[in-house]
Symmetry: C2
């Protein structure tokens, strides 16, 4: 055993449990529920999925696969192609798996990311047969030090009958000490979560486990799949600009240096653009309490703009990994990674009073938001943590481009084809056209604000017409013409554009 | 000042502030925002609304009226008729006000009941100009002892510029000491809420205020409006039976005496029937952590079945008031009333792991729930606390009769006309036909479970047909035929029945 590996695997009794992935794959049986580490491509296991796919060439089997969130390394794709996934939760982004989900061949539970751990613990979901977790170390006590994400690894390890650890030699060893693993305890037997500030540490730096449960250790050497967030374009820059205008209007009190409540931001291009926009703003001393820490958070730390960032994973581009990982030590006092039930916990989100920023697929004129379903039927990715944050945030902001597909789709529609966030949980809607401040408004007032500030000129007149006719002909708290409500989507399905349906109005 | 009043008004400096309601109404000006006590008919102010209505005969004015929840004494009706309400939140049940809301003449913000206090405190809503609060006492320090509800009274008093107290001599004086007023503090500056068990007391028994802010005290002598919950009928009894069957299947472990996690139950006939059903069940040592404490909770306490009940209001029938109020002292160790942001707080609901029971107006085959909007447009009452509980409960149960209007309406439809609770937050659906256990199921699996167990025979075949054709023709995670999705509601609007639309399928 070489020096580095000795430092990584410090529990003496476990040294003899190093196995190859083929051996470990042999322990996984048909019908098992496996809990994999990994959150937005970060900290996922690199060897076991491939080994399971190999095993599937010899024998037929099917697994329920639970994770933190999405995986990298095409793991969901190769598992899908091998036909070894029966049920999948709580989030995924792979194109191939999406196809099988939408064809009804893989059963997908789209779940609030803070709920999975609770559901596993209280028996609403299956018992975890095997937890398969990437780590940068196993401590003297046999505890597991996660790598670039925590996700649901702690609860999987806690509840599993068997644990398989992948010790990844390519991940930065300096990650050790940056995690904060809090043991939530069972509902009805637990106390308050003692976290009061974004930088508080309330747990251990490794996942406490009975080392006897660690049945095998696999050594790997492969970095996470780099993130693929595209750079801001004119539209996303405009959206970021409006959002920052809102923040200025809300928090500008004549101070030269302005502070904000802690920020949460979903993954994606717009979120990245907003954070880049903050680089050039007068806001300073920022705090981040979020799920995924992307490139821009590190840019903001480098610029001295972000004081502290709490997340559940570090998901970086290849370029940024090369810059950040060698000097990770420099961020030690500004960074913490926690289990997703803690990063997304209603108790903490409400206590800290976060400003949350998440992406909508479409919104209706009353501000109900669809985050997941294309035309109400086909799953895109999943609700992720957006519900955890939007419901409990001080200010829940949703962003979306006002049109898609060169204007064939209006992102603001009469009636959303699927609801993930109800109007109760949507405070601010931002498009490249402007922002609508919906706080303290009744639905009819919300509609006027949204149509005026957020809708693309291509569809503005038609939405005014729909709204006015709905008020006159149907009335009600939330006026709708039910025969017309979904016609834009029907037209989209049939003709590939909403324009004609809108023109008829 | 008589003896009883002296005992009720114990702050010396405030004795000279006793005024009549006409005088106090003079302080309320056009455009003001007033915060009224009152939650589900309990503890509302009895004199000031009438005085304001009188004042409206002399001068025109309009107010934004914030409350805990619904009021009694026809208050919302007379204020509506007088035309003095511009905006109303967060909940109401009055028929006349509902009409004006649905005609767009009163702006109604339908809000999660735990959110109002936070929105007032963080400035998302208006500043409170005047808090008008019913009390059973003002202490030596000038603090306010609420009556049969706490609602939002604490935050209104805290944030208001002016406070008017109605000292109600008809309410039981023994209520003093039964409240638990916790000062939440501002977001970002607060710590954990130190409540670990339903019976914990973490605050004061009166609302702490600066007595200087109490501008007037009005003496009243009128009981709360009695509740109007109807007795269980065959259908609600069947629903309660199925729900209790679920609880038995979930929590029966061969013990003669069975215990349950703490229960929350929304207001209404079904909830009452469920609690009556528990009277005859083997469950014992029950705990209630809920909003409204209705007749049945006291029956369960009398029968030794409920160990402790925490609520936000006591709302009883006239008969029950006569029995309970004279011997209120007997319940002192088993009862606490808290602010609604505490009774409905996500932090506590999740920590305690409640079983929550709330009523659906309609549900779709995937388990999305509409609690508020008739045919997607007309407001019934409001979402109330159902969202606070369902999102954060250990097990979120929704109940609804499978049909309404003698079968002209199916409460399970292809596509709900309005969404208050997404499928993510609905674990169990109960009708008089049976219950569907949706935990750990993907949408297509949920649909099969719901159609099989919850749908009325009148509509069962048609919903199977819709679901199967949606799977074949549209596919997707949540298969829908968008052209057909809302046709049942359209038919209902046009013909007063869903049957024809369903027959066409």
């Amino acid at each position: 055993m070489n020096n580095k590996l000795q430092q990584m695997l410090r529990h003496n009794g476990l040294k003899e449990r190093i196995v190859d992935s083929e051996t470990a794959a042999g322990w996984i049986k048909d019908g098992m529920t496996v809990g994999l580490s990994g959150f937005t491509r970060a900290g996922d296991v690199k060897a076991m999925p491939g080994a399971l796919v190999e095993k599937a060439k010899q024998e037929e089997f099917c697994l329920d696969v639970y994770t933190g969130a999405s995986l990298g390394s095409d793991t969901d794709q190769i598992m899908t192609d091998a036909g070894i996934v029966c049920k999948r939760l709580p989030f995924q982004v792979d194109q191939r798996m999406r196809e099988e989900i939408n064809q009804g061949n893989i059963s997908f539970i789209d779940q609030h990311l803070s709920h999975t751990a609770e559901s596993v613990r209280n028996g609403s979901l299956n018992r975890i047969d095997a937890a398969i977790i990437e780590a940068v170390a196993i401590t003297e006590e046999g505890w597991i030090v996660p790598s670039t994400s925590v996700g649901n690894s702690a609860v999987f390890a806690e509840e599993a009958d068997m644990i398989i650890v992948e010790l990844n030699m390519a991940q930065p060893a300096d990650l050790e000490g940056m995690h904060d693993i809090y043991h939530m305890g069972r509902q009805g037997e637990r106390g308050p979560i003692p976290l009061r500030d974004v930088e508080d540490r309330i747990g251990t730096t490794a996942i406490p486990v009975n080392p006897e449960k660690i049945q095998g250790i696999i050594v790997t050497k492969e970095l996470d799949s780099p993130s693929t967030v595209t750079s801001p374009d004119e539209t996303t820059k405009a959206m970021a600009g409006h959002l920052i205008d809102f923040l200025k209007n809300e928090y500008a009190h004549g101070n030269a240096e302005k502070e904000l409540p802690p920020l949460q931001s979903g993954i994606g291009t717009v979120a990245n653009a907003v954070f880049h926009g903050l680089l050039d703003s007068e806001f300073t001393n920022l705090e981040v309490y979020s799920e995924v820490l992307q490139d821009a958070v590190f840019d903001l730390m480098d610029a001295g703009k972000v004081r502290f960032a709490s997340g559940c994973s570090i998901t970086l581009s290849g370029e940024k990994m090369n810059k950040v990982f060698p000097k990770l030590e420099d961020y030690r006092d500004q960074l913490v990674l926690r289990p997703q039930e803690l990063s997304n916990h209603p108790e903490i989100i409400r206590r800290l009073g976060l400003i949350s920023i998440n992406t909508a697929l479409e919104a209706d004129i009353y501000g109900n938001v669809n985050s997941t379903h294309v035309n109400g039927t086909n799953m895109m990715n999943g609700i992720g943590g957006s519900g955890d944050f939007a419901r409990n945030a001080r200010t829940a902001i949703f962003v979306t481009k006002s049109i898609a597909k060169n204007g064939d789709i209006s992102s603001v529609v009469p009636f959303v084809s699927h609801v993930d966030h109800t109007e109760h949980d949507v405070d601010i809607l931002v498009t490249e056209q402007g922002y609508a401040d919906l706080r303290g408004l009744a639905p009819r007032e919300r509609a006027a604000e949204i149509i005026q500030h957020c809708v693309h000129p291509l569809y503005k007149e038609q939405l005014w017409s729909y709204f006015q006719r709905a008020c006159e002909e149907a009335g009600g708290q939330t006026p709708h013409l039910l025969e017309e409500a979904l016609t834009w989507h029907v037209q989209m399905q049939k003709e590939g554009t909403m324009r004609e349906a809108a023109m008829k109005i």
